[in-house]
């Protein structure tokens, strides 16, 4: 290699991609998110073919490729199927570490719902634990209108 290109101080360009996004929720997700915001209710939608209640709701069933039809209101309570206690923090996590994510089987739903656990002793979390949603004071039509799920009783 020619001397000119050898032991060159490597130039690094510290850049970013900063494109503003505005995702349209569509009718189905809008209904789910506005029920969280306005009535602190979790709703699912039922597929007429496989009879699964999908939470979060989808306009068409990913399993059967048919349109879902009936809305189903859930109590919001459920049980922890699995969870992880996050130790390494990143800028985009909603809470300071250590905190827990959980996969929750909501009563009356056939798909699982993933969210954050709060007001809980991390050492006490285990599979099967009954939990219920705690809604945020300030809600704006987002999955974070549920601040976290906490143990029942």
């Amino acid at each position: 290699m020619h001397e000119f290109w050898r032991n060159v101080e490597p130039i690094i360009y510290e850049g970013r991609i900063k494109v503003p996004y505005s995702w349209q929720a569509g009718e189905t997700a809008t209904y789910f998110l506005t029920r969280l915001r306005d009535e602190q209710k979790i709703v699912g939608k039922k597929c007429p073919k496989c009879r699964k209640v999908l939470v979060p709701p989808r306009k068409n069933c990913p399993f059967c490729f048919v349109h879902t039809d009936a809305w189903v209101e859930l109590s919001g309570e459920g049980e922890v199927e699995t969870f992880t206690i996050v130790r390494r923090g990143t800028r985009i996590q909603p809470r300071k570490t250590p905190f827990a994510y959980a996969v929750i089987r909501l009563d009356g739903a056939d798909t699982r719902f993933v969210h954050v656990l709060g007001e809980v002793e991390l050492g006490k979390i285990k599979e099967g634990m009954r939990v219920k949603p705690v809604f945020a004071q300030e809600r704006k039509g987002s999955p974070l209108d549920i601040a976290y799920f906490k143990p029942v009783g």
Binding site: V55, T84, I85, R88, Y101, R112, F113
Partner: protein, 383 residues
């Protein structure tokens, strides 16, 4: 199906950071190596498939950066966005369609140039999931716990996989992270997201890989050591994490079944001489060995500690060190194919599992928690 062979392979040394190389500089090395390995000039390459990911590269139309150095000038070219094994599948169909005799396939990533939690968080649905701040590691931690709790698999059993693969990586000149460690080292490594600890997780590396495919007629002219494609298939499971039981890998089972059917394999554990699987985390090697039928459901933990998957075992897994040894993201699966080819040719050096490797498996994954799998069966003999 007309016979297709891999006639040339190349890969860079995979490292934490290739600070002196642009994408093009890095990919050119792997392409040059594959052409030299096949003894081909670039004009003998009929068409080119690049695989890249716009998000990891920080550049939409990321295929633009490496088209010229992949030898695409004056040729038909395309780009698959996803793991290199998927790009290789499309490259193969470009020959089987009768349009081309040879296809050159590249795959690369520079994991060092972006913040991986931000990049993988963008794989989550922007309306329902993204604001939760999940990334590949925390989502896979949920899967790890679900799987290990379901079958009573212990962290120590998974740590054995880390010990095995990091040790194998020591004898792999291209690997990024060869380490001589013990189960205790793994158990004491920094907790990331329970049950995943630092040494349970593959690193994110910079690196590139390249393979050259040819039809039978061209393959026999190009090389006396063609490695034949015996079977290949891919399959995707449901998307949202909640739409699946994270302890299961049905898409891998379906892809493996189809690929085994094409290759005429009935007892994978006995008929496959070596497997290079997509071990982004220790628990994944255990899960994928079950999905591939090397053992029954939930027996991945026992298999990991049985010694069967070590270099001298009856079903060696990742003698190259796998992704735990080097993980240049998009090139992860194509590197598995490169290592499988070297094993069949008996050119794997200190990593060689035995001298008469007849059937090797290579496996790639797209998406979070192993949502979409591609399984390749490669062989020494055409029929």
């Amino acid at each position: 199906m007309e016979r297709i062979a891999i006639v040339g392979v190349g890969q860079t040394k995979h490292e934490a950071r290739k600070i002196q190389d642009s994408f093009a500089d890095m990919v050119y090395e792997a392409v040059k190596m594959a052409l030299e390995d096949a003894g081909m000039g670039v004009n003998q390459v009929d068409n080119v498939i690049t695989t890249s990911n716009d998000f990891w590269d920080g550049r939409t139309i990321s295929s633009m950066a490496t088209g010229d150095v992949s030898g695409a000038r004056g040729k038909n070219v395309s780009c698959v966005e996803g793991d290199g094994t998927f790009g290789a599948f499309y490259g193969m169909t470009r020959i089987l369609s009768g349009s081309y005799g040879t296809t050159l396939v590249t795959a690369y990533s520079k994991g060092s140039e972006s913040e991986s939690p931000m990049i993988t968080n963008a794989a989550f649905d922007p309306i329902y999931m993204r604001c939760l701040g999940l990334d590949l590691v925390t989502a896979c931690a949920l899967q790890a716990r679900r799987y290990m709790k379901r079958y009573g698999i212990t962290e120590e059993q998974m740590a054995m996989i880390s010990v095995k693969n990091h040790l194998n990586a020591l004898s792999n000149p291209n690997a990024h992270l060869g380490l001589k460690i013990t189960v205790d080292d793994v158990m004491k490594s920094r907790k990331v997201s329970d049950p995943l600890k630092l040494l349970d997780c593959s690193p994110v590396s910079d690196g590139a890989a390249c393979i050259i495919l040819a039809n039978e007629e061209r393959a026999r002219k190009i090389t006396d050591k063609p490695v034949w494609v015996k079977g290949v298939s891919f399959c995707a499971d449901a998307y949202l994490l909640g739409d699946r039981d994270l302890a299961e890998c049905k898409a891998l089972e379906k892809a493996a079944r189809k690929a085994y059917g094409m290759a005429g394999i009935r007892d994978p554990r006995r008929e496959i001489d070596v497997a290079e699987v997509y071990d982004a985390f220790t628990y994944q090697e255990s899960m994928w060995t079950e999905g591939l039928g090397f053992c029954g459901p939930g027996e991945g933990g026992k298999l990991a500690v049985s010694g069967a998957t070590a270099k001298g075992g009856d079903i060696p897994v990742n003698p190259s060190g796998g992704l735990l040894g080097a993980h240049p993201v998009i090139a992860g699966g194509l590197i598995r194919m490169v290592e499988a080819v070297r094993q069949i040719r008996g050119q794997a050096g200190a990593m060689q599992v035995k001298d008469n490797v007849k059937i090797a498996l290579a496996h790639g994954v797209n998406g979070v928690c192993g949502q979409s799998h591609c399984v390749w069966l490669l062989g020494r003999n055409p029929n």
